[in-house]
Symmetry: C2
Subunit: 375 residues, 2 copies
Amino acid sequence: MGDEASLIIAASEQDANLYYATRFWAPDPFIFARIDGRGILVMSELEVDRARAESKADEVLALSKLLSEARQKGIASPGMVEALDLLFKERGVTSVRVPGSFPVAFADRLRAKGYTLTVGKEPFFPERTIKTKEEVAAIRETIRLTEEALKSAIGVIAESEIRNGELWLRGKPLTSELVRKLLHLTLMGSDCLARETIVAGGRQACDPHMIGSGPLKANEPIVLDVFPVSLKSRYYADITRAVLKGRAAPKVKKMYAAVKQGQEIAFGMLRSGVDGKGVHDAILDYFKKEGFPTGEIGGRMQGFFHGTGHGLGLEIHEPPRVSSAPDILKAGQVVTVEPGLYYLDAGGIRLEDDVLITETGCEILTTFPKLLELS
Amino acid sequence: MGDEASLIIAASEQDANLYYATRFWAPDPFIFARIDGRGILVMSELEVDRARAESKADEVLALSKLLSEARQKGIASPGMVEALDLLFKERGVTSVRVPGSFPVAFADRLRAKGYTLTVGKEPFFPERTIKTKEEVAAIRETIRLTEEALKSAIGVIAESEIRNGELWLRGKPLTSELVRKLLHLTLMGSDCLARETIVAGGRQACDPHMIGSGPLKANEPIVLDVFPVSLKSRYYADITRAVLKGRAAPKVKKMYAAVKQGQEIAFGMLRSGVDGKGVHDAILDYFKKEGFPTGEIGGRMQGFFHGTGHGLGLEIHEPPRVSSAPDILKAGQVVTVEPGLYYLDAGGIRLEDDVLITETGCEILTTFPKLLELS
């Protein structure tokens, strides 16, 4: 009988750890407990049959049965915590390990019932950061479909013509919104879901999370950051390119070359055992040396003021990080490499590829070419 | 100086309360505190400028500044909690109200620093359930676009021909996947994001959350449950229809009529001050009287074993509920009305409309016709 249980209460649609542990996709919160190595689900009547058919849990219990058991014991309005209490008592569980994101409301009530609750360090399932062959294949497939969509989108920008400094296509101004919709529709056509896709030109791209709006302009860089999830595999890809229709200013060309070289620095350093912080700092140093400082300039953050990369998998942002915080990388992890430079007088340049960390180095999973000026 | 603060730490992309309070959309967790009625954001360098431009917060602070202040005070590796501690001390905050979903990891650390943490009841912002005119207009617009997409999808089923009991369209079997993709693409074309859309025929529809797969069959009901979010307004719609190509069995016809009448019962009862439980129970009773019992039959839940409805807004499922749990409805709330009947020997029937609760009754926002048999 199993003393310490691991516990998650969440909707797997919003909680990748829960989906990872159960491979069951549901929109409403449910209970997952691991007791003595057995995965146990407690599901509403609405989901109990589907969970039995689809999840990889060892056991699927009906919440309604536990609730009526609780009522029989005289509990007036039992809920998830009372159901859990019955389950834990039956299985001899006295202490519970939960993720940091575990809802405080449930935590307080479990503690009030005498359980010792400990908050597990992130990543809650460390093994989740190490991708299996199947997971890498799934990420590769999402990358492939993303690259196809990116090719169409950049094709449209290349095809546009310049009128009074703006891009026009087939008699209409080419906007961020149009390019974004093209990306979203192409990806949806291949069962990938993209949202908040960034198509941001000029100064807009200086806010790295601004998705961009309005007519795209000639002679200034356009950042396309596309990060869809496959609705089949549920694994993400994350790719960024910067392109420009017309002629790039010398500063923009120099920024592009520096960002590309920043990626190369990361590709050369990334391997199992390396600290992500070392990689990030090396890029920051290189940028500074090339005349691209980072910090607040005129009340706005400029330069390279985000992390170099993040883990990629069932979440778009997951451990590990390649950033200013130390994080030792391991073989089997998939991370993005996405240095960027942002200056109000030039616009934004970001290039992002996805790589698999190996024992001896890293394998670049993305294959999309890098070319600033579109002919 | 403001004693009790309200506090949320989350990613607004995943937390509708946070989006509601800030109208700022971000993929990574950030801090929102309401102190003395002022909304304060603490943002990473990546988001601070965008938050100043886009959010409705009264004040946007840079996390980095608070962190360096903490470092100056000798804290080695300050994080969000240390930043909050500085902010709270400066503003005289000693107790903090958080939502039930607040991460236990942060809760424990705030309590360890001496703050009194109380868990607010749901809904955390009760005013969020009462929709403004603008919010109702936004929901109406998503409904309109959803109805357009549903019209195309049902049109395709109507247009199909029957071959050996299966539906075929233009020389190919018509599948759940094809109809779903058509819905998703049509909706994406109008800037709405749909996922997990249900197109489930026959027995598949007996699991109300099974999305459906494979060739659609003649003479059995097909449940289409479409619940997209507008990428512009971020408000949801939620509509379900059941249709059938060919001839409906007598039981299916009777189920359809009962479910439709179940909706009418709700439409007649719903108004400000009514208990959702009363509405739900009335439908359950009516179904039973009509010969459609609910419960476990042959090891599977059958009948009407989900709630009658749920609030709709920035979330697809939000308070209030119209279900077996008491919940008093208020004017200005928008809820779904979606009774269903599911029997393994007949398939599933569910009809779902969205209604606005008013002082005197309810206004049905959906207008899509209800017709079982497609000619």
